[in-house]
Symmetry: D3
């Protein structure tokens, strides 16, 4: 699906840092040596692997920050399905500038498309069940806004963006507070009216306790399908049910069949791996 684009003020600082990293204190010394100043090139950005595109705004902005004279023409939008050979965009401009922007652009495009692709795979695995797929806060430091965006491009949804925008009570919190009831009650008293409250449970006794107090969502941690099914029956629609822990593309369908509302997985963001996307020379001048 085509996600709403991230506003430029959220991605520009990431790209400026990435370019500073790759340009060092001298820029691209190889091109400075071997590429004539007035040489121009056209490159196609082409998928070498099947997946889902995410990050074309980053490509365009990386090019613009290096040299406004680079023209980027897109063949498709973020969220589009890619097959080996699919062309995503064409870059055209001064060769030295293109080579200075290339790696930064491709690193980000590959990274985000990798996340979108594994998300799409998990979404496909549960297709037809009505179950949603969500990421977590296990993101790469500095890239959370972009990685959450990539999950959306892959058809997934987002969990909390940060510690500040929703309450998620975990086992440690319960232990510290002395039980599920006091934890939930304190959360309800302390959290604002625009803040949702979720709590993590490991077994059905805990779930019972949660149901007695109430919450917006419950995270059913590391439960086998049979137990998940009983949990869903107990909740009976009174809370959002989220299955988490050890879910793989292989196990997802069975877990989705238990009737939970969503499944979440940290590896969508922390272990997706890059999607192989490269540059092909179209023409030179």
């Amino acid at each position: 699906m085509i996600p709403a684009p991230l506003p430029r003020p959220l991605i520009e600082p990431v790209l400026r840092r990435a370019l500073e990293e790759d340009l060092g204190l001298a820029g691209d010394i190889t091109s400075a040596c071997v590429v004539p100043a007035d040489h121009r090139s056209r490159f196609a950005i082409v998928a070498r692997q099947a997946g889902v595109a995410a990050g074309l705004d980053c490509v365009e902005l990386a090019c613009a920050l290096v040299d406004p004279a680079i023209r980027v023409t897109r063949d498709l939008a973020d969220g589009a399905a890619l097959r080996p050979g699919t062309r995503l965009a064409v870059l055209e401009g001064p060769s030295r500038s293109l080579m200075a922007a290339e790696r930064t652009a491709l690193n980000l495009l590959g990274h985000l498309s990798g996340i979108a692709s594994v998300t799409a795979r998990l979404v496909a695995a549960v297709q037809g069940t009505g179950v949603a797929v969500a990421c977590t806060r296990k993101t790469t430091p500095g890239l959370r806004a972009l990685e959450k965006y990539a999950v959306r491009a892959g058809g997934g949804m987002n969990h909390r963006y940060s510690l500040a925008d929703a309450v998620l009570i975990k086992d440690n919190h319960i232990a510290i507070t002395g039980g599920i009831r006091p934890a939930l009650e304190r959360a309800r008293a302390g959290a604002g009216h625009m803040v949702k409250i979720e709590i993590e449970v490991d077994d059905l006794d805990q779930l019972e306790e949660v149901l007695a107090v109430g919450a917006d969502a419950v995270l059913l941690d590391n439960m086998a399908p049979a137990m998940l099914r009983r949990a869903v029956a107990m909740v009976a629609g009174r809370m959002v049910t989220e299955a988490s822990g050890g879910i793989t593309p292989d196990s997802a369908a069975e877990i989705a069949a238990t009737g939970v509302d969503l499944i979440s997985a940290g590896w969508l963001t922390h272990s997706a791996g890059t999607l192989d996307i490269g540059l092909d020379v179209l023409a030179e001048g």
Copy 2:
């Protein structure tokens, strides 16, 4: 191996950004609701998976930036081998502060240890051959210094850090310049005396041309073992030989046996995936 630590000015900005991401505009609202202000905890950082540690300085600095009252005691150093259950460090301090720092610390530790671990696996696959393992510039934007460090922690070595610190002439450069000879000659004329020059070749004819002009290193791109062996023989020690393209832990030994000096792989940094490392509660107060 224990790599020389990165100086703090290189890692502090990464951590500040990561903490700002995760703390949002309100900090950890869950803990603010449910954890008493004076509650203290002790957590152990424990590997759930075998691998190699990298990122303990990041853990320590993340904690220090959130609250100098957190004490971090290390059980081992970056570069150490981990087995499921290996304790890496103990964190002790105010519970709210620990929970505010926890995810940022673990995200980075898992990410870097993941890179160190796959590097170590590739290094192990070629052990005894004298072949070195190197990463590339295909790193996660904003994390290059740390990811290159993690490669060192895994026993690998680093390729260029940026476009600015070495010359690497690729197929596009050769095409633009009109041939291997002019490309190498321009590079030698333009690059400083402290800058090494490497050139990428696809076949042995190109290698022949390179040998006629000379370079510090040659990247043998996507060559099968038989061709690599002939290439090594042709070079006869006059340049560093680097095999690259499609090398996997499975194919590495065979490639190493061809006699190349090093093998490089982008996936060490762009697709390592996280190493599973978690927190265990040790005690509460």
Copy 3:
């Protein structure tokens, strides 16, 4: 009430900018001219006006950033009631350093205490009704995290922190979407499970429509007490009810008596004015 402190990474950048503003390119040239380098002072921070304290962490950090040799001893915590003459803290250290930090510290302390104080006044006006008091996104650019914190110190609660952490459907959105039902349905389909959905209505017909679809909260905009009362009855506990628009300390009690769950006001943050807090010399050396 004593709010959970903001983690230091959230307030340090604000203070660094404020100090750079006030120190210019030469620091405090008056003190450099007239105060001997080794002169030490003790100052008391004293309220000149009744209110509620907020911002003592900022005072302490401003001093620490200018000179770690300044010692700050607090007499009370954020959230404490102040009367004219109440001492909040004592600062002790090199006079030049104290004078360099003073205005930055007091500007922020007065600004945040002003917000905490008007919040506390509004909270007091509705005391006993069970109605909560909330701020909005009408904050001073660059200070939102701190101003939302000050509202908490005054006993209030927070609304959305940003456009990213909750859905609030306003009249413009309804007009664009073509009605309340499609707007709410799209929001429910698009927003994550940890995101609350609120919608603004101007009259009871709109409220009727909202009730037919459902939402987490409804903002009853600029309604007179009689209409608010009817709205509350219609909602009958199925959504959080928020009264907003033109609420003053004088009108608050009457509005609270209508049975709404909370009242919100932008002026808590955008027009509180500073609380008068000054420095008294305690001793010199």
Copy 4:
């Protein structure tokens, strides 16, 4: 009056921070859910309250940073008088972009116009007396350049911008130095030739001492009109005379009539409150 505009490098960082605050890690999720990607709007920025405009450059830059496709057409310039209903500008562009920029733009516009408006009111109160109205360093952290600008838009003038650009000797400095004479002498010896020296006095004896040594300006602190009149007579034009402390729009005329050169007030910047300015929908597409 129309003030000289602040150069963009002074306001851009403020706006980038404000936008990052309001856009969080996901941008405007409400609009992403309910507003079609290609929907366009036209909004009028309209005063709801009488006052003076300040901050239109900020509105324009906030829009440009979010989306260069937004067009801003101004109806008037900063410094213009506003009545309820006065249109300040028209914004036209993609609806999602407009909604992402709206609150940031209005928060700053309202804040600065609030300052310009109270300044203009104080200027009006002393009109015809030739007395100037000045602000102080009691500004909102991070916004000093903009707030001082807003004072100029309201017809006021600026006092010191920072501790670094003028000498202002206060009671503490006098106490530390051991008297008015040594304080002034050290200031004159130490301050550069482009730096003005002002000193604060509480009574006429102190003023006598100041006159014996000389200064560029004297701050007559918290003096009643009668004493101010005698002070002005004593000074007899040899220094700029500034009345400060407890001046209100009501008392300003009487104080201005004493013949002082200027009156200054911290509340112009620290307690002005926002000016109510809103958005009206003009058309949609």
Copy 5:
């Protein structure tokens, strides 16, 4: 003379940038290779050339930012006279850390001491005349606060810090305004009461015009000693007189003898050159 130290918030950003420049993405790879991790060193910072010290706070902070374990012991303070062989400070700590901080520390110390030294030389050239020596805004981008400080360490005084803190009317302004009188009158009307006004004149006719209107200071541009003497006589103490343009250590005494109040020179900051200061090994461990 010992100048008042710059507050740390003014110098820390300069040092962080400088360290990032010199540490690249990998830190000091030489030391990482050849220096054992636990090796400690003691270095003396020693002048190789006569001059005046400036920048010891920078040395100390550079070391602290790299590694708080480095101890810096000063032998003297900024402003002290140096002879070849004078020891300024001793650094002691982990060798790798010392080597990572060394160049950044010495580059800044040499640069600032160079400025202090040429300033002191010019001050010495006019000693006994009562004439002050001042720098200009011709400073190295990014280092103005530090370079102005170095001028103070050399016994000089500062001119304007920026375009914002004083009025200096130059020939272009006069041409645009249509004459000296309107330029001065507009400046007086527009500038705040804490802002000094200086005007540049090329000949005595212009000076006559200035005297008819009045200003705080006059810059006598590129005048020969005879004309300067007549200018001083005309001014007769009514304004500060500043000689500027082509003043060298050789010509300074003659110019000072004309009776001007101060002489200013851009080369104090833009062309001082470094002062040769090096590191001597004291001991190793």
Copy 6:
């Protein structure tokens, strides 16, 4: 020679900082007072001194950051020879904007052209010998990328950019490691294959030891011409030979005649002094 331009992301932060320094919190108050808002000017940038141009991109970007309405037309490119009176570029636009950008632009242009000019002088001194001229890491903090660029504009080459991109073993390292052989061996073992290794020697015995182990380059420190000649003979082309220490334009020819490959000098960057370049009014409007 015309150097490859630095990518904009490397120079923009330098210019933003420089402009913030010079614009303070109020911008150019002189022009705000005396220059009408709609006045336009044309200025020529003209060399007052012979030398080599460097920094025209900085001029253009400084103007663009202050006001995109300024038009910059270049008469020549960086690397061009300048004589007194040579026009480098014409600036045209709103007078207030031009005056706000002028000093920042000229400070950087003069600084970088100064470096290019002394570099060109040293290059000229060794012309015909085939010897290259290189700078060092003795650069002005914050400006290394630009200063190294200026050296290239003057026809010189660059040494290491930072501690991270090449190994340079100095006397301290040798002492710590216990000798030249172990130092070189550790460096070879630890440094990546794209990293060159240079070692500093003081006499021919040390050089002998180096030759026995091998390195990429040798720095012959402070050797007299006779010893340099013998060193070159000993090396016999097996390493790059670099003469360093006390080389002046006067001594350069003699040193170049010894047959070394390059000479390096810190003063190219740390003590070049500015090149005198000024603004001439072309026309006003």
